[in-house]
Symmetry: C2
Subunit: 459 residues, 2 copies
């Protein structure tokens, strides 16, 4: 039987996330990102479309590689200005019952104790619908905002991240027993103090006494997302991630990366399907081919190529500005994304800048840009998912609300007809249960977080 396709709506609280220049399209609500109604409307749309979750990207600095400054990023509205995405979650949760919320948070800059409380708080307030997209940060500019004279080296960041996760697990999983809160009115006991434990963590980077301040939330640890694709990042994901976000250049690379991920998960002692793989795709759809063509033309017309160059410069660490269009790119080891490995097939890695600009100038050059009527898009999605062993997609946004309403109105019914999309949410399920089945609100037994689950008192 073919798998249901999971869908996250990919968003960021900023004028331009991955597609640039489109804030200028008439009717795009993108620039309303500071208003609560933008987010509550979005949440209602995604819940109407039975999405798994909204995936909220984030950065805590600006992109400064292109031309050696943040000026171009500011001009393009390229992930700056932005607001803290964790705060749009409670408002979206208040107007929905089922939609999940994946919030991006870095392990490099914020103390783990306070961050654990933010996670616990959001898992409570959403009733167990929270995911955390773990990032280690890849912008040198961010480090300067947190008093670090330079960005930690890539592998050091992962060493810090491993320890950060250990602190988070211990706070969320083992600090409060499930039966700690007794609310015994007669004995005048809210919490049994014997069932709340300090963690006494003393590591290389963090010292945290505990206990965690919040009582256990429905999922305790939120569902863990990750997007690392370096070898160190993949090992981290194989160990910790329950959902991995990939931005591959094509189906073949996606298949290879997913096979890699499942193999590494097995090596880490986990079931291979305990890591869900989501592929980033762009979709433009409408009832007729003519309408689809018109929509693609509109995106083309407003595309801000410089914004894309700023983004790729930041991801790759290579300044793509300048007139020297014959200059060949040398891949120097990517940060969050191994951008250049991913964008072309092998052998093409040494494209020069002129060719890159040409490539970025047209959205259709992305092999995971899918434009077509609903049957065409559904065919392509089935091919992509089944050919790569993926579990679903991260749907990249062009227009708000257009991208998501088009998917909900055109693609969801088509996928439902094909038996590839849920037809209703399961009442009361947590986000983790949506991915791993009923009874699995808490981390699965083969996940490192589960090591920190105390046996209930008396057992």
């Amino acid at each position: 039987m073919s798998k249901l396709i999971h869908v996250n709506g990919f968003e960021m609280a900023t004028p331009g996330h991955i597609n640039h220049g489109l804030w200028r399209v008439p009717g795009n609500r993108r620039t309303d990102y500071t208003k609560l109604s933008y987010w509550t409307d979005l949440a209602r749309t995604l819940e109407r479309g039975l999405f798994d979750a909204v995936f909220l990207a984030d950065v805590v600095g600006t992109y400064t590689t292109y031309q050696g400054s943040r000026r171009a990023a500011l001009r393009a509205g390229m992930q700056v200005p932005n607001i803290d995405p964790m705060f749009v979650v409670p408002a979206m949760a208040a107007v929905t019952e089922h939609l999940g919320f994946a919030v991006t948070g870095t392990t490099t800059y914020e103390p783990p104790f306070g961050f654990a409380r933010r996670l616990g708080t959001l898992d409570h307030l959403t009733g167990g619908r929270l995911a955390w997209n773990i990032v280690t940060g890849y912008l040198p500019d961010a480090a300067r905002n947190y008093g670090l004279s330079e960005q930690l080296k890539h592998d050091d960041r992962y060493a810090v991240a491993d320890e950060y996760l250990e602190v988070i697990y211990r706070l969320l999983q083992e600090s409060w027993d499930d039966d700690a809160v007794v609310r015994d009115a007669e004995r005048q006991v809210y919490t049994d103090p014997d069932r709340v434990h300090e963690i006494g963590f003393e590591g290389n980077h963090f010292t945290v006494a505990g206990p965690h301040l919040s009582e256990p939330s429905p999922q305790r640890t939120p569902v863990l997302y990750q997007a690392g694709t370096s070898s160190r990042g993949k090992a981290f994901a194989a160990r910790h991630a329950e959902g991995v976000f990939l931005l591959p250049r094509d189906d073949a690379q996606a298949a290879e990366e997913i096979a890699d991920l499942r193999r590494l998960a097995i090596e880490a002692g986990r079931e291979p399907d305990h890591v869900k793989a989501f592929i980033g795709v762009e979709i433009v759809t409408a009832a007729t081919r003519e309408e689809v063509a018109a929509k693609v033309a509109l995106l083309q017309q407003h595309r801000d190529v410089e914004g894309h160059l700023v983004l790729f410069s930041g991801w790759s660490g290579i300044d793509l500005s300048g007139d020297d269009t014959d200059r060949y790119l040398e891949y120097r080891g990517g940060d969050a994304m191994q951008t250049f490995e991913r964008m072309w097939s092998e052998g093409e890695d040494r494209k020069n800048i002129g060719e890159l600009v040409e490539h970025l100038s047209r959205p259709e050059n992305n092999k995971l840009f899918i434009a077509g009527t609903p049957d065409v898009v559904a065919d392509r999605l089935e091919q992509l998912i089944d050919g790569t062993d993926a579990d679903g997609i991260n749907l990249v946004q062009h227009l708000s609300p257009g991208t998501f309403t088009d998917f909900v109105d055109h693609i969801v019914p088509e996928l439902q007809r094909r038996g590839r999309y849920r037809t209703a949410y399961t009442p009361g399920e947590t986000l983790r249960e949506r991915f791993f089945g009923p009874g699995h609100a808490r981390p699965l037994g083969d996940h490192p977080a589960a090591r920190h689950s105390r046996v209930p008192a008396g057992a």
Copy 2:
């Protein structure tokens, strides 16, 4: 003409905030504090009652002075467990238009850059309805959660706080010019890079490059609340606070402290009425004296005296446990609250523990506990406000929603009849404008934050 009385609803996302044992009262929704509906219902009630704001207290550790452990705090549900109050704000903002939100945040534990973004984000999402209650933290237990081997000394905490505020002001006030975001579709410019500035802050405690990541929010810097009552705390409040929360023992002490505050504000170069003073009061009311008496009896019946001892032990730093009821209390310099100075008139400071327990055992022993029919309560409130030069009250909660619905249904109409309470909100006003008048969305000219406001480009 008599002043309108400002009212904040005093809350905390925990089973027991200031009054303990009351989670056991049948029908009290207190234990629903982890549910969004608790907070959205609360917000609707306060907005129906035309409150200025909900004031959300917070701690990031547990109370461990009493019996040298956190066990009694856990048993009583005394400010633990809790959740991060900043996250209930967006949901409350989504169901209201006017209510303000004062969130407590410490200057001791979280990096200022990320905290500034949280403030900017909430000021955006609430449309300029945010206040920040600045605390320096007084629980030794909290320090251990943030890798500090011991709590900073009281005066050191204020030195750190001064620098923290400086960073926050520079990020929120001067990093983005008012006209930085141009959204010029034709020129393809979202933000004019010449109008966004690094702050390049290098102090004794923090190094922060900037710029702030969010575009200017309606108030830029949220309205600043503070509750410090030590001499160092008062100087800090006189310099930075726009609203000060007092918990005095009686009217005379309130009058003295408020006079002190206004004098210190003048010394700090500010207008004395640019600091609003809110007195913490408890109110029990109903249509008849018999109902009032029954409500007071209910509170008495469920009062958890040990919870109060835990709280006072934490505030004072003196362990009030033990059988030695003849032991006299020695005042050792309080932390957040000069508890013992405040609870009794002078000369009574050397009460022994037995007398203290006796005092805490009855809610009516608090001289700012007001029980009566609406006319009686309104008389007492007018007397308190006018006799002390206060600007309003922080209404301390006993029962949720009872305390606030009673105030809204009984006291608000009575105060309105007397011309002492607003009869409508002013559409579109920010929280700061509610306190300081139209056109004053941003910090007033005599506030230290205003020093960091850049002159608009070209002026």
